[in-house]
């Protein structure tokens, strides 16, 4: 088998995995862009999304699309509640306090999920049949296309919301200057709340897609993808929406290429080494602007 065929095949796998990272990374980056908080509980929202989808399909007998909508809406509510209960009271506290709260919230979600859903691995219901699609020497599957397609659609929807709606304008204003935005009559509590809702809904969608793709969910499934998506967000430039997409896809493809051409043992190590290398040369991430501090 030629090396470029392997490369092409791994590129396809990498894009599917990367679009999941991108969906999660968007939540990190939006929240950071607005309140400069790294929401470490975000990976757990992704996990909860997978479980909500699981129960929507198995207990409520919904098909994939309604189950996904239901899970996204529920996750959005959980995200808003999280912000309201855990982060809003600390908004004027030092950033480290909120960060520690976020880590606490993450552990709380994990342990609660373990208590409520059980710690066992659950096989995800196979809501759609499997088909393999041959593209010359390489192939893709309908699931990979679904992941990629849904991810792209949701990212386009987010882009439209952020760039072309009044709410998006308010969001961008809050991200630029919270106080000035408030003076202009923007209800910043509401903007922050909705930002959490949007990010959480995207993470829930990623959770369901991943559950279905890998056929397995568990209460700790959010930890590693959460961390990698965070890396992806930083890689692309944290706080910048297209950066999260670029970072996510790059991480997914890089991981697969490492397995193909280096060694599967080094997969995670190389992914993080890329992050360090990029940050050495572009401290604000790939799409970040180099801002000089004014004294």
């Amino acid at each position: 088998m030629n090396w470029y065929v392997i490369g092409l095949q791994q590129l396809i796998n990498g894009l599917a995995l990367g679009s999941v990272y991108a969906l999660i990374a968007l939540g990190y980056t939006m929240v950071y862009g607005i309140i400069k908080l790294i929401n470490f509980a975000h990976g757990e929202i992704y996990m909860l999304g997978a479980y909500l989808g699981f129960y929507a399909i198995t207990s409520l007998n919904l098909s994939l699309v309604p189950a996904m909508v239901l899970a996204m809406v529920s996750a959005a509510i959980i995200g808003m509640l999280l912000e309201r209960v855990a982060y809003r009271p600390l908004r004027s506290s030092p950033r480290i306090a909120v960060l520690i709260t976020a880590i606490g919230a993450s552990l709380l979600f994990q342990s609660t999920a373990q208590l409520v859903f059980g710690a066992s691995f659950k096989p995800f219901p196979q809501a759609i049949p499997f088909t393999r699609i041959q593209l010359g020497p390489v192939f893709t599957t309908n699931r990979q296309l679904l992941i990629f397609g849904v991810a792209v659609a949701l990212m386009i929807a987010l882009h439209i919301i952020v760039q072309y709606t009044t709410f998006g304008k308010a969001m961008r204003a809050v991200s630029m200057d919270k106080d000035a935005a408030q003076l202009m009559g923007i209800n910043i509590d509401r903007v922050i709340s909705i930002t959490f809702a949007l990010g959480s809904a995207l993470a829930a969608a990623a959770g369901i897609l991943v559950g279905m793709y890998y056929n397995r969910i568990d209460p700790y499934m959010g930890t590693m993808p959460g961390l990698k998506a965070f890396v992806a967000a930083v890689l692309g430039g944290i706080g910048i929406v297209p950066g999260a997409v670029v970072g996510g896809l790059l991480m997914g493809v890089a991981e697969n290429m490492v397995v193909a051409f280096v060694s599967s043992t080094l997969r995670d190590a190389v992914a993080f080494a890329i992050l360090i290398a990029v940050l050495l040369f572009r401290p604000n991430g790939l799409l970040g602007k180099n801002r000089t501090e004014k004294v």
Partner: protein
């Protein structure tokens, strides 16, 4: 208004006095306390549930028939989630607070590796019904097991693949973060290459990964005749599914870790035709095995997997050893555990060995329509 309160107080006092009187009245010795560490939740939960069910069943029947030398066995079950740290903490609790005479468990190799040094240091005999990692019994003379070793299991699978299936080129995918998986990969590879076969490619992942597409793509490109997947069902299931969906046509080879009712759902039917090495087969016609299967099925409504059979055997070994020791002296129990012979158990006749590992047979099973069918039985010498 103090009247009813006084009444209750008097009643309590009366009950207390009666209970203190009742104990010597029964004239029974206090029970032997045995601890069981088993994962009832977590990534290997079905193992722990099977072991717990079988151990409880075994101990109930011993107690019903009069106990050990007239003493009942009291079982203390703790859930270790299959996690090494939790398992070590639970072991400390069994030793320090529960004052057990003997520990059964833990179930999976990494957890056993964490608990064994504690049991050894405290001088508490311990027997893992199911831990197969080679290093386990090298951790001390108080450490025993009811299962075979991974070097034996890996060798059996390599021999079966090379000699019976005629496979000369195989690939391996294994969990680099798990002693069990790493040990099996080593044993399989060594025997397979010694026989003249060739391991043409190897890929690894880490515990908890769920995306294997990159590794499997690389493996599929080399088109091996067989793929050896030495891991627990929670990883083997998704690997099997992803491999088959990728169009891999290799013969799938597995180990005892695949044996779980959850494998079928996780592999989504793609485990069909795969081979595993296991501790026992439900098709085994020996009366002891069939009696165990019948009793377990009647009690729990599902056929016992190998983990259950090993848990049951663990109880039989413990019972015989406690009987032979004649007391709960750790030194005596340790000696007995290493010397009891000819135990008619669910997985065959067991002879214990002072080294800690019993001398026993293994089976090769093939997956057919959601159950395991006996293909071959291999005696302890490895044929």
């Amino acid at each position: 208004m103090s009247h009813p309160k006084t009444k209750i107080l008097v009643l309590c006092l009366l009950m207390f006095v009666m209970s203190t009187l009742a104990v010597p009245g029964l004239a029974q010795e206090e029970p032997i306390r045995v601890g069981l560490l088993t994962p009832l939740t977590g990534a290997v939960a079905t193992y722990g549930q099977s072991v717990r069910n079988a151990v409880v069943m075994g101990i109930d029947s011993i107690n019903a028939s009069g106990g050990i030398n007239g003493r009942q066995i009291e079982l203390i079950v703790l859930d270790d989630k299959g996690d090494s740290t939790e398992s070590a903490q639970a072991a400390r609790r069994l030793i320090d607070r529960e004052k057990v005479a003997l520990i059964m468990g833990p179930v999976i190799t990494p957890a056993v590796m964490a608990v064994a040094p504690i049991a050894q240091a405290e001088g508490i005999p311990m027997i893992t019904p199911t831990g197969t990692g080679d290093q386990i019994t090298e951790l001390g003379d108080y450490i025993f097991r009811a299962a075979y070793k991974d070097s034996f299991q890996g060798r059996i699978m390599a021999q079966f693949a090379y000699e019976n299936l005629g496979i000369t080129e195989a690939s391996i995918i294994y969990d680099i973060a798990n002693d069990y998986s790493v040990g099996l990969r080593g044993a399989f590879k060594a025997t397979f290459e010694e026989l003249g076969g060739k391991v043409i490619s190897e890929e690894s992942y880490s515990t908890g990964d769920n995306d294997f597409s990159a590794q499997l793509t690389s493996l599929t490109m080399r088109n091996p005749q067989a793929l050896f997947i030495p891991d627990y069902y929670s990883a083997a299931g998704p690997i099997l599914m992803q491999a088959k969906l990728m169009g891999m046509t290799s013969v799938m080879l597995g180990v005892d870790g695949w044996d779980s009712p959850d494998l079928y759902a996780l592999a989504n039917g793609f485990e069909e035709d795969g081979y595993i090495v296991n501790h026992y087969s439900q098709d085994d016609e020996s009366p002891m095995t069939q009696a165990f299967i019948a009793e377990y099925t009647a009690r729990y409504g599902a056929a016992p997997d190998a983990l259950a059979a090993l848990g049951y055997d663990g109880v039989l070994i413990v019972a015989r050893a406690l009987e032979a020791a004649g007391s709960t002296d750790p030194e005596a129990i340790k000696h007995a555990l290493g010397t009891v012979k000819n135990i008619e158990a669910a997985t065959g006749t067991i002879d214990m060995d002072p080294e800690g590992t019993p001398i026993k047979s293994a089976v090769i099973l093939q997956s057919k329509g959601g159950s395991w069918v006996l293909v071959d039985k291999i005696d302890p010498s490895g044929r």
